[in-house]
Point group: C2
């Protein structure tokens, strides 16, 4: 990746990809968005962003949109914002965008995304990031950024790197809060402590976060799952503190009636990211011989939806 | 209970109670039905039974119906066919019906019903029965008996008894298949091996039995829960054979697309028998220090519905 003015592709410009891509483009960076269902709307009407950090819009002339990655230029940085359910499309969608030194940053949920990208394109290219952001797609080309926005990213190969720092500055320069993780895997597992109970139970029971923690039965389920995630993380070599459980529950109380992405996917009849958020962590725990009966049960229940 | 011509009360004449009560009354036994929502319909229109074992109807003059057990006569045999969610009504509904030697036979689902009846009315009165029957209420006063019908009953205090034999003959004489269990607790736990997975998962996931076993994820869930029920039964002193799991799965395949009672209750927005079918078995397992994480999780999920 060059030191200055990298060209950027966003692969899978749903709400998350469109928002971050629009922020970068709005700041004047050369951004190329790969779209699917919203292509016509964005090509003719541009992108409209309603954001807690300031509304803005991008006219069609200000943004490069595509529906076929073979027609896109090769770029310096690929942001992967596909649903993890579309990971079987990685090769077809990303290969045409790669130069010798192109970096690939996946902002997808769950585990297994960096591993798969590294298998396909080489571990040296791959970074992972966690997006802490509340975003909705109001209509084709209309995005609502409701809260937060922090990206925490790190090298899949581990450790800090000048490249990770440069990407982080690129985001910060574009009104996207960002910091660099010294240990991406810690960040991934730490996020799973929340994602597994609230996405999993939220989808299977069709309950919002407040409905899961405003009663004893729900709290016991959430705490039990969180304890299993912490045990699984330990089995994977990531030491999370036990008091994370109560910290996460307090944070969740402050969120009010929040629907997790997997609950929304269930309500919309869309495929669930069950494999990335539940299945991969279960497999990692089991191969480390950590007992995770509740996670495994939740995973199988999600598969049945 | 007298040797001949016992008088019978049916407490909680939903589909199950109305069906068995109607069979007994149709044979000429003196039956008194305690009804709630269907009282007016049955008092004015009688009972209409569509049954695989032969249709029949009872005119209002052929049947004694009540909506207040204080107005009912004391009887020789009380059949308890309430939903287990109404067990807090036992004392009010049953106490007025008892003579010195009245027997109480509960045909309710799950665990804990006999125990509670014994606490309230004395262990010597109490028998329990398992009803293997497919019954639907088509409309107030209209019952559809679709399949099966066997009652297996036994003394709560254990062992065979002349009284259990007499009640069994009473049923058999009225076209109700019945046999006597030498060990009621064995029967209860054996039935739970089916009820816990198919009622629990059926309700929580809103899936019929075939949808639960026509895929790997569902089969793994069902088998895992069944193994826990067998372990819990062992902890409670009941030795069930391990091959019961595959036997039950084969039986379930032969049932086709069957909705468990708890799935139907969930669809109808009615209270679930979660305590009797899931909560009590979990508590018994835990007090015997048997690990039942999947049963406990399913129980808590059912409480959240």
């Amino acid at each position: 990746m060059p030191l200055e003015n990298p060209t950027i592709a966003v692969v899978g410009a749903g709400a998350l990809g469109a928002y971050y891509g629009a922020r970068l483009a709005h700041r004047g960076h050369p951004v190329h968005l790969l779209l699917r269902s919203d292509y016509d709307a964005v090509a003719t009407g541009g992108l409209e962003i309603r954001s807690v950090d300031g509304d803005f819009r991008l006219e069609p002339a200000e943004i490069n949109v595509y529906r076929d990655s073979k027609r896109m230029p090769k770029v310096d940085l690929v942001l992967v914002t596909l649903k993890a359910t579309a990971n079987d499309q990685y090769e077809r969608l990303i290969a045409p965008l790669l130069k010798e030194d192109t970096a690939i940053l996946t902002l997808q949920n769950g585990l297994g995304n960096e591993e798969r990208l590294a298998e396909l394109f080489g571990v040296g290219r791959v970074l992972g990031g966690l997006a802490f952001v509340c975003i909705n797609r109001l209509a084709p080309g209309k995005i609502h950024h409701m809260d937060h926005g922090l990206i925490r990213l790190g090298e899949f190969g581990g450790g800090p790197s000048p490249r990770a720092q440069r990407i982080c500055r690129l985001f910060n320069d574009s009104q996207i809060n960002c910091d660099v993780l010294s240990d991406l895997r810690y960040g991934r597992w730490e996020k799973l402590v929340w994602n597994i109970p609230f996405n999993g139970l939220g989808a299977v029971l069709n309950k919002s976060t407040d409905q899961l923690i405003n009663n004893e039965a729900g709290l016991t389920l959430v705490r039990g799952l969180m304890a299993e995630v912490i045990a699984a993380a330990k089995g994977a070599g990531v030491a999370l503190p036990q008091n994370l459980i109560e910290t996460k529950i307090v944070q969740t109380r402050s969120m009010g009636a929040y629907r997790s992405s997997m609950q929304i996917d269930r309500q919309m009849g869309r495929p669930l990211e069950a494999e990335a958020i539940l299945g991969q962590p279960v497999k990692i725990a089991q191969s480390a011989r950590i007992s995770v009966p509740q996670m495994a049960m939740l995973y199988r229940m999600a598969l049945l939806l």
